[in-house]
């Protein structure tokens, strides 16, 4: 076991992928000489050369579009989008090409791309640097979408994503890049837990709290705080956002009867809705209360000094827990219908 930051764990995962398969190439803006604005690719260009770790022109559609061509040629491009808010210029190549080409070619053309996206807020950044666009991709057939939340997962899941023959949107919680954790650098991928499965972060009986990415730690803290009030929260790190590991979540909800979903992205059309609908379909008769969503507001990401009034935090998550438990909460007295 080695102690690494989440960013360094990703770096090691790419080093191992580059060393293990000569068809793996990294592409992106400032990822080579600079090592990425978050230094996640630090040292890799020096080690593997400019044809394996490629500083590209400033064009996201260009990066993803050329990666598609490279996949045609048998490469496994690992693309870095510098910040979440800069993925939109590449949207057409991702939605109309990357996601569809395997289907459109009747399985002849594989698109084993990995699109790395530092995502989410909490770092006091300028606009367009704190977005949570994951729902756009989770709604896109042909893509797989995952989000890591800790160094150990980051190390394993990124290697699994690169090894996957399907295109994977790989979301990295940028506010967690510097958080340290234990990583087994020699762990074999063979017996590693598949990236498609969710993880139980904390066991509990009263409420199932599902989240992913940057909020997983917040959810864990919420569970600890709630325990002091005698509330037992089961925390699930979803990890895979498409497809969703409904078996794990449903198993938990059948025990707790209560579900809270938290994410930084806006509520309207967000993944919380998908989860609640999917769980309601599977566990309707087990539900003891309406599932609750604790999310970012449906607003453009606000200026840095307001982000704490936008992002779900420990208190807002606990307020959601109180709501699902029928304890006093911010909407107490507000008629459900009027909610």
């Amino acid at each position: 076991m080695t102690t690494l930051t989440l960013g360094k764990a990703l770096n090691e995962a790419m080093r191992r992928a580059l060393a293990g398969d000569e068809k793996v190439v990294l592409m992106g803006e400032d990822i080579g000489t600079l090592g990425g604005v978050f230094r996640v690719t630090d040292g890799l260009k020096a080690e593997f050369g400019p044809n394996r770790v490629v500083d590209t022109p400033l064009s996201e559609a260009g990066i993803v579009g050329t990666a598609v061509g490279l996949a045609y040629r048998g490469f496994r491009p690992v693309v870095e989008i510098q910040f979440d808010g800069f993925i939109y210029p590449a949207f057409d190549q991702l939605i109309a090409q990357v996601a569809k080409l395997h289907y459109r070619s009747r399985g002849n053309v594989r698109m084993p791309l990995t699109i790395r996206v530092p995502f989410g807020g909490g770092i006091g950044a300028a606009e367009h640097h704190s977005e949570s666009p994951e729902a756009y991709f989770a709604h896109t057939a042909g893509l797989r979408v995952v989000a890591c939340s800790n160094p150990a997962d980051a190390y394993v899941m990124l290697q699994q994503a690169i090894a996957s023959d399907d295109p994977v949107l790989f979301f990295e919680p940028k506010r967690r890049y510097h958080v340290k954790g234990e990583v087994d650098l020699d762990a074999s991928l063979a017996d590693a837990k598949p990236m498609g499965l969710a993880t139980f972060i904390a066991k509990g009986d009263d409420v199932t709290l599902v989240t992913y990415g940057g909020l997983v730690q917040t959810a864990r803290d919420a569970a600890i705080a709630a325990a002091e009030d005698g509330i037992s929260i089961e925390v699930i790190d979803l990890r895979s956002l498409a497809p969703i590991d409904y078996e794990s979540v449903a198993a938990s909800v059948r025990r707790t009867g209560r579900l809270v979903v938290a994410h930084e992205a806006g509520q309207q059309g967000g993944l919380g809705g998908e989860l609640i609908a999917g769980i309601t379909e599977r566990c309707f008769e087990y539900l003891e209360a309406a599932p609750v969503r604790v999310t970012g507001h449906d607003i453009p990401y606000p200026p840095a000094k307001l982000e704490r009034h936008h992002l779900p935090d420990l208190d807002r998550i606990l307020d959601g827990v109180d709501r699902v438990l029928g304890r006093p909460n911010s909407l107490s007295g507000v008629e459900a219908g009027a909610r």
Binding site: V25, N51, T56, P57, S59, A61, G62, G65, T66, A67, V68, G69, L70, A71, Y72, R73, G74, F75, P89, D92, Q93, A96, Q97, L101, H102, Y103, R104, S105, R106, G107, N108, V109, R110, P112, A141, G142, R144, S164, D165, D166, G196, A242, P243, I244, D245, E247
Partner: protein, 383 residues
């Protein structure tokens, strides 16, 4: 790279004109720069190019007819662009890779794509007609310009593998307005990617004339992106062949990308769903008819001593046979199995889709049971 280096390639656009080796009336125009690249094209070789063009013209007409008769859902005719497509495709090596739009039927034909494979997509029977790796030709692209980036990325991969193969991307005049095509120029130039950008300027993007897209000759676009641009008579199969060979040679020698603007004309509708009468005149059409790609070759062959009438008759016969084969092929295209709608969404198992697939199978089974029940006179569970 200094601009003069680029000039040194001797390929910078000739202003207000284009490279032409065969005049519309069939005279051979001599060009010291381009002649050497087609020195090997004797009467027989030229006759083969004529044959290619005549056959694809006939196949294209047949496909249009098949659409009119309801055998195809849609067809985008290539009529008028035979020389641009045949001249460029015949310059390719088998290991070069083609990234085309939806109109390059003649290119597909040169790559060896069969009649049924050519029609499959337009019949709506499957998502694609052929395996791209069987013919080194990608699935045709409908999103305008997207394939230019794919060709560029593929070509970047070729350089990293130190291969001397090349990639070629076909797109239209309208496509030059899309960001993707311009970004492809940026990447190709930056990485000296061995890719040929083959732009068929057929004067129209559906109802929009080329000068709405650009007031400048499209080949001129190349210089600003640090690559040479060639403006060629796209209705002159010999000039197109020469230009494409020059561009491919540069690519193989590690000199990077080239943009070719093949000036041609779409004689037919944009697709069988289009009505060109709404936006262009008969005079324009008549004018372009005088620059027909096939007639001029027959003319030149005659001057070279070939019995043009005999060739024409012989090729017409071949074309009829090819057309009959196409017509026969369309009905051999199998209708897809209902459950195949779920095939190939992912390369690896996907829990969500597996579940959805299972549900739909149960749904279809319900009707079979119902039908069976109905057949046996019993009560069906479903309507």
């Amino acid at each position: 790279m200094t601009p003069s280096d680029r000039d040194a390639t001797g390929l910078l656009t000739r202003r207000d004109q284009y490279v032409q080796l065969i005049t519309p009336t069939g005279e051979r125009r001599h060009d010291p720069e381009y002649d050497p690249w087609v020195a090997d094209v004797d009467a027989d070789a030229l006759a083969r190019l004529y044959r290619d063009m005549a056959i694809v013209r006939r196949l294209d007409a047949e496909a249009t007819a098949l659409q009119r008769q309801g055998e195809l859902g849609l067809w985008p005719p290539l009529a008028g662009q035979e020389a641009a497509q045949i001249g460029s495709a015949r310059a390719l090596r088998d290991d070069d890779f083609v990234f085309s739009s939806y109109r390059e039927h003649a290119v597909a034909w040169c790559r060896g794509v069969g009649p049924a494979e050519l029609l499959t997509v337009w019949r709506g029977s499957a998502a694609s007609g052929w395996n791209p790796f069987e013919y080194a030709m990608a699935v045709p692209q409908i999103i305008i310009g997207a394939q230019a980036l794919h060709a560029t990325g593929y070509a970047m991969g070729l350089t990293w593998e130190e291969s001397d193969a090349a990639a070629i991307s076909y797109f239209g005049d309208g496509a030059t307005s899309e960001g993707d095509v311009n970004e492809a120029f940026v990447f190709a130039s930056s990485f000296d990617a061995p890719v040929v950008f083959f732009c068929q300027n057929n004067q129209w993007a559906i109802s929009e004339p080329v000068d709405l897209q650009s007031k400048q000759h499209l080949a001129r676009r190349a210089d600003g992106f640090g690559m040479p641009g060639i403006r060629v008579d796209g209705n002159d199969v010999l000039a197109v062949l020469a230009a494409t060979r020059i561009a491919l040679d540069r690519a193989r020698r590690g000199k990077g990308p080239t943009l070719i603007e093949a000036v041609t004309y779409r004689m037919g509708p944009h697709t069988t769903a289009d009505d060109p009468k709404r936006y262009r005149t008969d005079d324009e059409l008549a004018d372009w008819r005088t620059r027909d790609p096939l007639a001029r070759v027959l003319g030149l062959l005659g001057a070279m001593g070939t019995d043009a009438d005999a060739l024409e008759a012989e090729v017409a016969e071949e074309s009829r046979a090819a057309a009959a084969e196409l017509r026969a092929a369309v009905t051999t295209i199998p209708d897809p199995e209902p459950m195949s709608v779920f095939d190939h969404v992912y390369a690896e198992p996907n829990t969500h889709l597996a579940r959805q697939r299972d549900h739909y199978a149960r749904y279809l089974a319900m009707f079979e049971e119902a039908d069976a029940a109905a057949a046996s006179g019993a009560e069906g569970g479903a309507r």
